[in-house]
Symmetry: C3
């Protein structure tokens, strides 16, 4: 359809400037703006392609070929190359930042994350958040907000759900935030007792899976409760993280705007801090060839805490502690087990040196330290519990 | 077709070095090498994919889902995810650098840019330039060259046309530049009175467009002439810009070769400066969620000037002043308006602080300052007028 | 297939930490672990897409439109955009690092590399290595291992084969490395007298190839034995190389883990060094518009040496010396020639200045300098011989 528009001519020099009509749009939300039961449909979506799936895997040093090698993915019953659950988590959380957390003081934790459907090349994911709880703690203190977020694909299937707790201040005298879109409120299909949709062909595929392109040390039989795995290599994070923040859709200026970061006081001031999702992604990647190269699904995670920020120039390292190795449900139990593990990140010290220095204390949650009369470990940047479905060697 | 080549054997140690047969290929063009009426068919082309479209959008912090979300694009009548006009501009200009501007002293301005056809994933764009005018200003002074550049898709449809003015020195004693390819001169289909080709399905789509995934504050009704919008977030540019320069095809060493930059004198010397197209792209992205999230087309821009260079480490911010809000042509007028705006970039100062500091002077073109007896604003890095087709909330 | 897993509950606080069950997985291989005749099937594979092909080309400043422009590639008889041989080399070598070289002291050289089949968007490449020779030089000295590596596509066609020599120490008291996967040993289809598979349509395509989008100075007729070409532009490498290392699949921490780099002594200590394959790729790209813009195939290379490391902040430059220009085999000889050339990289000095400073000595292999009583050139970072099939202008 050819449409004729009038020609553009220069207008600015002839248009008087009116300084009374200035606006400063603000995003995110202050404490009084979170109402339990309220629903936010998050702006934008994220379209997955084999290329951005592969690029995410490579940026964060993923070693599981499921997310790198199309032929391997197809041989495991997947139709296309699936996005790593880590990528799906980063994207869904980031899509929600503009509504959920662009004004928060701190992300307190991730809870009860569950990956319920694979996301493939060709899929577009959007996100919604419901406010679950708001705890006020006095007029001059930040409150605690609990939210639930869903990622949905273009068929409105839930691909991921999780909870977060946020520390948020009252707005007070600050500029108001942009209103949410009006209109009909959609359903919020949170799954209370969720099943996971895996490819029909997966059990058969596992029976015949090639063993040559994954490590011989990462089958289910190689893990026992109590095992501690020291992941040898670190990753030095560079200024690259400014750009990577919005590659996953995160809009928070704390991660890419030095002028903003320098205007803050406290531990977040100075240089832009690395978005926590990216830190987790690097840690997961660094651990992957020792841990998850033979995983066929990441069920989810809980009790995730970023206990210290990371900055450009920091080198991050990971450690794993195996907590449980259990039979998979009947559909998969001949070929896979469910491995639950504690996953720790440290920075600017190798995992081996951190374990030597801190011993068993490294595996105590930082939030529990005070009650136990122990000091916090400032080398530690991250802690979480993860559950993986891992192939048996057979 | 299996072809047998002779085996490779090492040759260098037996081949005497002849220092009389050295050549130093040079690209770009000196003043005497621009001849009005001359046509340059630019080397290479650029193939668009959903991935590089998406990657460009995310690198430059685009918030309009048209360029991020395949389902949104399809719901607006586009067959594939279109490239953002900003990406098309960056690519077409960059394809021309090797012929047009690799030897210029300065890019003086962009004029009369018009986006005439969407560029989709799957399209390949090539570029051509015609020399329109050459102004000589004496033998020891650089001259001013005016060029017109076209971007064409693989069906030879014009996707973009614009004019640039360049400041260029005479070659004098310097090394000659590489000759242009000989052969038949193709047509140069510059559109004097252009129409814009938009998807047939766009008007119907606009009638039914979902309102949930774009901001409630960026519909046509939200803009009135005189409005000033202070875009809150900045973007700190890192050394990433070295690589981003050739990601869009720009071959100028000023942007990625520190040895070259350090060999210069004047304001361009020192570290590589950020290619102006990238600066514009970041500014556009930073403004997008306050301004163009509900745009369905960028008609074009004019009077674009990079008034100061940007370097790695600089943080850039944007401001918008609305100049006109007009009815769209009949085909779209029920559903969209045409918004003309002045768009300003500053660096290392927030937009809010820059407006506080400079007031209305921020919106006066730097080239007009002298005649008005005003000082130039060195915080300002960019100024341009843009025209957008923006959806009505209805 | 919907599978019900039990709900995740937090386990770590109730699980005692056992410090007796710690493991430190190590990859790579020590001297005694290389056994001539032994075969390593390398972990993972690499799936090529138009996007990662294009992205590699642009990152390393490729100017040959064959690897940038889908329409150009199709007009030359290729079905899809082929990956540049440089990309295929980087990927295949990187896939092997985890087995072949993650513990080596130095990569001594590349030999006899041959690109035997195009790799297209849609292809997945895996790699295998055979140990060819192990030279021991006494119990307290590192030995020399010679390996052969193959890259195979999903139809098990060899796309690339080459040899490397590695300097490797004995393991001694160090931690053992992870065992290789057990099971049936596949064939190792090294091609002793290889043919190159090029598109059937290539000769016809060359007869009609458009001349407008490639340089007029880079046809076969433009090269004569003895020509020295000084490539003008350099590329400043930034910290970007940390991420680019694993973009091609290389797992060696020397390239991205500052804590590891700082734990070393000698020339590799300090900041992470740039993976040599990336250095070669940048050099090739910088030279491409003077040299290979009209190449239709890279046959291979030999005698490749990284004579000095490069670090973030270094600016690299390239020079070419033409060694031979020969008829192509009958299938192509009307339209193309085979050009053999010596290819040199320098850093932090322009190619022109390096040639001025070092003259003919720049083209003497650094390993031959001692025998000739000459000093090594520390400005030089790379040397290799390449063979290209280049179109005739006709």
């Amino acid at each position: 359809m050819a449409i004729k528009f009038s020609a553009q001519t220069e207008l600015a020099p002839g248009a008087d400037v009116n300084l009374d009509s200035v606006r400063h749009p603000q995003y995110g939300r202050y404490l009084e703006e979170y109402v339990p039961g309220q629903l936010f449909v998050h702006p934008r979506g994220f379209s997955f392609t084999q290329s951005n799936i592969d690029s995410f895997s490579r940026t964060y040093m993923q070693c599981n070929p499921l997310y790198l090698d199309l032929e391997y993915a197809k041989a495991h019953g997947f139709n296309q190359m699936p996005a790593s659950p880590q990528m799906v988590f980063n994207v869904v959380l980031s899509l929600g930042v503009q509504n959920d957390s662009e004004k928060v003081i701190a992300n307190l934790g991730y809870y009860n994350a569950q990956f319920l459907n694979p996301v493939y090349s060709g899929d577009t994911v959007r996100a919604m958040t419901m406010v679950v709880d708001r705890k006020e703690r006095g007029a001059d203190k930040p409150g605690i907000v609990t939210i639930r977020t869903l990622g949905l694909n273009q068929r409105d299937e839930v691909v991921l759900q999780y909870e977060r707790k946020l520390m948020v201040a009252y707005r007070g005298e600050r500029l108001p935030t942009v209103p949410v879109a009006e209109g009909q409120v959609p359903a919020f299909p949170w799954q209370e007792d969720a099943s996971v949709n895996l490819p029909e062909a997966l059990p058969t595929a596992l029976r015949h899976a090639t063993k040559s392109v994954t490590g011989w040390n990462t089958y289910a039989e190689d893990f026992s409760p109590g095992d501690i795995i020291v992941h040898n290599n670190g990753r030095t994070i560079s200024d690259e993280h400014f750009a990577l923040t919005y590659q996953v859709g995160n809009t928070h200026p704390l991660h890419y705007d030095k002028v903003f970061s320098q205007s803050l006081s406290g531990p977040m001031s100075g240089n832009p801090i690395v978005y926590g999702g990216l830190v987790y992604a690097w840690l997961e990647g660094l651990a992957s060839r020792d841990l998850s190269e033979n995983a066929v699904w990441e069920l989810g995670f809980t009790e995730g805490y970023h206990t210290q920020p990371a900055f450009a120039g920091d080198t991050v390292f990971a450690l794993t502690r195996i907590l449980a190795v259990e039979d998979a449900p009947a559909e998969l139990q001949d070929h896979a087990s469910v491995v639950t593990l504690q996953f720790i990140g440290v920075k600017n010290i190798t995992s081996a040196a951190a374990l030597e220095k801190h011993g068993a204390d490294l595996f105590i949650k930082e939030n529990d330290k005070k009650a136990l009369g122990k000091d916090k470990i400032t080398d530690k940047i991250f802690e979480i519990e993860r559950r993986l479905v891992i192939k048996k060697r057979g």
